[in-house]
C-alpha cells in the first residue's frame, strides 16, 4: 500500500531544481522551492586511491555498484525500477553492462524485495537491494528486524545473510512531505544484528557503500537524496573502503562538539563557521557515519575535551538516535560535561509539506542552541 502512493521527486536540490528544465510531459515545469538549507563544500581530493573523477552522489553510488558487479560475479542488484537506471539514476548503465540477470526489476513489494535479498544472501551470493525511498522500508521491517538481523544468531552461525545490503534514498528533499522525506535510522538502531550507515558526500558514499557490500553483516545504507545531484566532488574511480563504525572528525575544536550525519553534517559545518565568526566559539565537527554499531569512542573522546555536546538530526527528537548518543555520553563523560547535552532535531510531528522550512533543524536553530550552551 505504501508504495502505491509514491510521487515524483523531480529534483534533488534547491538551485539546481530551477535549472532542471523539462519535466515528465516535456513541458517546462518550475518547482517552487526554497533555497537549500545547507551548502555542500567538497572535501579535499582524495589521493590515496588512484585516479579520481568528478561525480555527484548518485554517480558515486553507480561507481561503487559498478566496481562490485565487475569484481564479484555473484553480485546482483534489484528493486523497483532499477533496470532502466533507477528513479534517482543510481543504476544507470549497469544492466547494459552486466546483464538483465544481475540488474533487474522486482515486483512492487518491499517485504518481497528484502525477503528475496535475504534468500540470495543465504545461498551465498551478494545481494544489493534497493528500497525506492526510506519512507517505504517499513513494509520490510519484519524481514529486516526479525529475519535479516537475527539470521546468524538464531542459527548458531550456520546460516547468515551477511551478503545483503539494502540501499535507500533518505532524508528531506525540500518538498517531499510525509513519505519522501523520512529519516528512519532510529527505528533500526534498536535492532541488534544489522548495520546502519549514512554518508555525507560522494567520496564517503562510495567508500562506505563498498564497505557495506563487503561487510559480512546485513547493512542498511541510507543515501541523502538531496545530495544526489547537489554534492559534486572528485571521487576515485577504483574501489576503496571506508571503515564502518568509525566516526570522522571533520574539524577540530575546543569549545563544543557537534555530531551529525548525512546532509546535517553540512549544516553543522556551517554552524561551526558561524559560531566561530559571530561568537568566537571553536567547534569540533564529527560525522558519525555509522549509526549502528556506532563509534562511542570518538564522540566521547571529543566531549571529554570540549565539555559540551550538540547532536542534530532531521528525524523527530523523541526516540531519535540523538537520545542514544546523549545518554551514552552522559554516562561516559559525566565529570567533563559543562552544560546539558543539547539535541536539535525535527519536531515530534510527521514531516510536513509546505512547512518544511520551519520543521528542519536548520543552521539558525543549531546556532541558537550553541549560543545557549556557551552561556549556560
Amino acid at each position: 500500500m505504501a508504495a502505491a502512493a509514491r510521487l515524483v521527486l523531480r529534483t534533488a536540490s534547491g538551485a539546481k531544481a530551477l535549472r532542471a528544465g523539462l519535466g515528465w510531459l516535456g513541458s517546462p515545469i518550475r518547482v517552487p522551492h526554497a533555497a537549500a538549507h545547507f551548502t555542500f563544500h567538497p572535501d579535499p581530493v582524495p589521493t590515496r586511491h588512484g585516479p579520481t573523477q568528478k561525480m555527484n552522489l548518485f554517480q558515486s553510488i553507480t561507481s561503487a555498484l559498478d566496481n562490485t558487479l565487475s569484481s564479484d560475479p555473484t553480485a546482483v542488484i534489484f528493486g523497483e525500477d532499477v533496470a532502466f537506471g533507477g528513479v534517482f539514476r543510481c543504476t544507470v548503465g549497469l544492466r547494459d553492462k552486466y546483464g538483465k540477470d544481475r540488474v533487474f526489476n522486482t515486483p512492487l513489494c518491499e517485504q518481497g524485495i528484502v525477503g528475496f535479498g535475504i534468500g540470495v544472501a543465504v545461498a551465498g551470493a551478494t545481494a544489493i537491494a534497493e528500497i525506492q525511498f526510506a519512507d517505504y522500508i517499513f513494509p520490510a521491517f519484519d524481514q529486516i528486524v526479525n529475519e535479516a538481523a537475527k539470521y546468524r544468531y538464531r542459527s548458531g552461525n550456520m546460516f547468515d545473510c551477511g551478503n545483503l545490503t539494502i540501499r535507500a534514498p533518505w532524508g528531506c528533499v525540500g518538498h517531499g512531505s510525509l513519505y519522501h522525506s523520512q529519516s528512519p535510522e532510529a527505528f533500526f538502531a534498536h535492532c541488534p544484528g544489522i548495520k546502519v550507515v549514512i554518508p555525507r558526500s560522494p567520496v564517503q558514499a562510495k567508500g562506505l557503500l563498498l564497505s557495506c557490500i563487503a561487510d559480512k553483516n546485513p547493512c542498511i545504507f541510507f543515501e541523502p537524496k538531496i545530495l544526489y545531484r547537489a554534492a559534486v566532488e572528485q571521487v576515485p574511480t577504483e574501489p576503496y573502503l571506508i571503515p564502518l563504525s568509525q566516526a570522522e572528525v571533520l574539524q577540530e575544536g575546543s569549545d563544543v562538539t557537534l555530531v551529525a550525519w548525512g546532509t546535517q553534517v553540512h549544516v553543522v559545518k556551517e554552524v561551526a563557521a558561524m559560531a566561530q565568526e559571530k561568537l568566537g566559539v571553536s567547534c569540533e565537527v564529527i560525522d558519525l557515519q555509522t549509526i549502528l554499531p556506532w563509534d562511542t569512542e570518538t564522540v566521547c573522546k571529543s566531549v571529554v575535551k570540549t565539555g559540551r555536546l550538540l547532536i542534530s538530526h532531521e528525524a523527530p527528537v523523541t526516540g531519535g538516535f540523538a537520545a542514544e548518543i546523549s545518554s551514552t555520553v552522559q554516562e561516559e563523560c559525566f565529570l567533563n560535561l559543562e552544560a546539558p547535552i543539547t539535541r536539535v532535531c525535527g519536531y515530534d510531528t510527521p514531516f510536513p509539506h509546505i512547512f518544511e522550512p520551519f520543521y528542519i533543524p536548520d543552521k539558525w536553530k543549531c546556532f541558537d542552541a550553541i549560543k545557549r550552551m556557551i552561556n549556560y
Binding site: 510531459l25 523497483e80 539514476r89 517485504q111 518481497g112 534468500g119 546468524r152 538464531r154 546460516f159 562511542t296
Partner: protein, 463 residues
C-alpha cells in the same frame, strides 16, 4: 492495413493513457524522475522522443479501429461484449491427486512410482520414528522437561514423500512442522533432542525455542517463528541457485494459515516474475491454531491461487506418501529444467494440538480428530501397502516399535543429562565480529555473575 509501427504506437498510447488516467483519477501512479537533469547526457533526445510520442498518442485517439484485439499491456485477452463477472469455483475445486487408496492399494498402475522395498521401508521407518519422537517429546513437555513442543501427527507423509523426491543438495526452507524432512535426510536423534533441550550440543547454540531446527550439512535452513518470512527468502535463494547454475532447487514449506501473510504473496509473485527454480509446498491441514480454513480464505484453497501468479499448481492427498512423492519429483524436475516455480498443496489434517501450549478440543470435536487418526493416516496407509506386498508384518512392526522407542529414549536421556551452552554464547554471532559495545556488555555480565552467581543457575551451564 495496419503496419507494425502503428501497432507499436498504439501500445505506447495505451500505456501512456492508462498512466494519465491513473494519475488523474486515482493518484496511485508512481511517476519516475526521468529527465530531471540537464547534466544527463541522453536527456535532450530522450525528452524530445517522449514529447513526440505523447502527442502522437493523443492524435491517435481519434483513430477508429473496429473489432480488434485489446492492446492493453497488462494482459493478453479478447474483448467481450457482455457483462459477466468471473465466478470462483469453490464447490468443485482443483482435484486431489492420489496414487493409493485408504487401504494402501494402487489405484492407477501407471502412476505407481514402483519404489523399491528398501525405499518404502525407509519411508515407513522415518515416518514412524518421527511419530515415536513426537510422542516422547510431547510427553516430556507435559512433564516440564522441555519448554515447548510441536508434533507432526498426520503430516508425516507430506514430509517424507516430498523429502525423498528431492536431491539432498536442494535447499529446504520450512515453517516448523516439517521435522520429517530432516529425519529423512538423516538428522541424528541426538541433534533433534539437543535443540529441544537447548543443550551444549545444539547447533543453534541454545538460542531458539524448541523445534526450531536447522542443519547446514543437510541444507535445511534454520526455522524461525515469524510465519511466511521464509517464502520470499526461498525465492531469493532459488534465484541465486539459478544464477550460480548449480542445478539445485529450493523447496519451501508453509501451512495454509501462513499463506495468508503478505510474504506469501510476495514470494509467489517474485518467483514467477523472476523465474526461480522453486517448489512451494503448502501443508493444508485445515487449521491455523484454532482458525478453520473457512475463516482463513474463501477461494479454492491455496492451490487455486497458483495460476493467478502464473504458477504451475497441483493439489495432492497429503496422506498418500506416493502422491506427494510423485508430485514433488515432477515439480523438482521441471523447476530445475525450466526455471519456473511450482505450487503443491498437500491436503491433510492436523491430528495433534497446534502445540503444547494449545488444547485443540476447545475448538474442534474429538470425533473429527479420531476420524483422521484412525481412518485416514499416512502411516497406516503405507503400512497397508507394505503388508499387501508381504514387506511388513506384525512381528516386524512390534520389533521396530521397540527399537525405535529405545533409540529415541536413549537420545532423550543423553540430551537431558548434557549441560547447557556457555552463557558467553548469549553474545556471539549477533554480528560476525563482536562490536566494542557488545564486548563491554559481555564483560559486565561476567563480573556481575562473579559477584551474584548464587542467584543464577550457573551450574547447569558449561563453563
Amino acid at each position: 492495413m495496419q503496419p507494425n509501427i502503428t501497432r507499436r504506437c498504439e501500445q505506447r498510447c495505451a500505456a501512456k493513457m492508462a498512466a494519465l488516467m491513473h494519475f488523474g483519477k486515482l493518484c496511485r501512479i508512481k511517476i519516475r524522475a526521468i529527465g530531471q537533469s540537464s547534466s544527463f547526457k541522453g536527456s535532450p533526445t530522450c525528452l524530445l522522443r517522449r514529447t513526440f510520442s505523447i502527442y502522437g498518442c493523443l492524435s491517435q485517439q481519434t483513430f477508429d479501429s473496429p473489432s480488434d484485439k485489446p492492446q492493453f499491456p497488462g494482459a493478453s485477452a479478447e474483448f467481450v461484449d457482455q457483462l459477466e463477472f468471473i465466478q470462483p469455483n469453490v464447490i468443485s475445486g482443483i482435484p486431489v491427486y492420489r496414487v493409493m487408496d485408504r487401504k494402501g492399494q494402487i489405484i492407477n498402475p501407471s502412476e505407481d512410482p514402483k519404489l523399491s522395498k528398501e525405499t518404502v521401508l525407509k519411508f515407513y521407518q522415518k515416518m514412524t520414528l518421527l511419530n515415536t519422537m513426537d510422542r516422547i517429546l510431547y510427553e516430556s513437555q507435559r512433564q516440564g522437561r522441555i519448554s515447548f513442543y510441536m508434533t507432526n501427527y498426520g503430516e508425516e507423509g507430506t514430509h517424507v514423500g516430498s523429502a525423498a523426491a528431492l536431491d539432498p543438495s536442494d535447499l529446504v526452507f520450512g515453517q516448523y512442522r516439517e521435522a520429517g524432512v530432516l529425519m529423512y535426510r538423516g538428522f541424528p536423534l541426538d541433534l533433534f533432542m539437543a535443540q529441544c533441550y537447548a543443550n551444549a550440543d545444539d547447533l543453534g547454540k541454545g538460542r531458539q525455542m524448541p523445534v526450531h531446527y536447522g542443519s547446514k550439512d543437510l541444507n535445511f535452513v534454520t526455522i524461525s517463528s515469524p510465519l511466511a518470512t521464509q517464502i520470499p527468502q526461498a525465492a531469493g535463494a532459488a534465484y541465486a541457485m539459478k544464477a550460480l547454475n548449480s542445478n539445485r532447487a529450493v523447496i519451501c514449506y508453509f501451512g495454509e494459515g501462513a499463506a495468508s501473510e503478505g510474504d506469501a504473496h510476495a514470494g509467489f509473485n517474485f518467483s514467477a516474475t523472476l523465474e526461480c527454480p522453486i517448489i512451494f509446498f503448502c501443508r493444508n491441514n485445515g487449521y491455523a491454531i484454532s482458525t478453520p480454513t473457512n475463516e482463513q480464505y474463501r477461494g479454492d484453497g491455496i492451490a487455486a491461487r497458483g495460476p493467478g501468479y502464473g504458477m504451475m499448481s497441483i493439489r495432492v492427498d497429503g496422506n498418500d506418501v506416493f502422491a506427494v512423492y510423485n508430485a514433488t519429483r515432477e515439480a523438482r524436475r521441471r523447476a530445475v529444467a525450466e526455471n519456473q516455480p511450482f505450487l503443491i498443496e498437500a491436503m491433510t489434517y492436523r491430528i495433534g494440538h497446534h502445540s503444547t501450549s494449545d488444547d485443540s478440543s476447545a475448538y474442534r470435536s474429538v470425533d473429527e480428530v479420531n476420524y483422521w487418526d484412525k481412518q485416514d493416516h499416512p502411516i497406516s496407509r503405507l503400512r497397508h501397502y507394505m503388508t499387501a506386498r508381504g514387506w511388513w508384518a506384525e512381528d516386524e512392526e512390534r520389533s521396530w516399535r521397540k527399537q525405535s522407542r529405545r533409540l529415541v529414549m536413549e537420545a532423550f536421556e543423553r540430551a537431558e543429562r548434557r549441560l547447557k551452552p556457555r552463557p558467553d554464547w548469549l553474545f556471539t554471532d549477533v554480528y560476525d565480529e563482536k562490536p566494542a559495545g557488545l564486548q563491554k556488555q559481555q564483560e559486565a555480565l561476567q563480573s556481575h555473575l562473579e559477584q551474584y552467581k548464587e542467584h543464577y543457575p550457573v551450574d547447569l551451564y558449561d563453563k
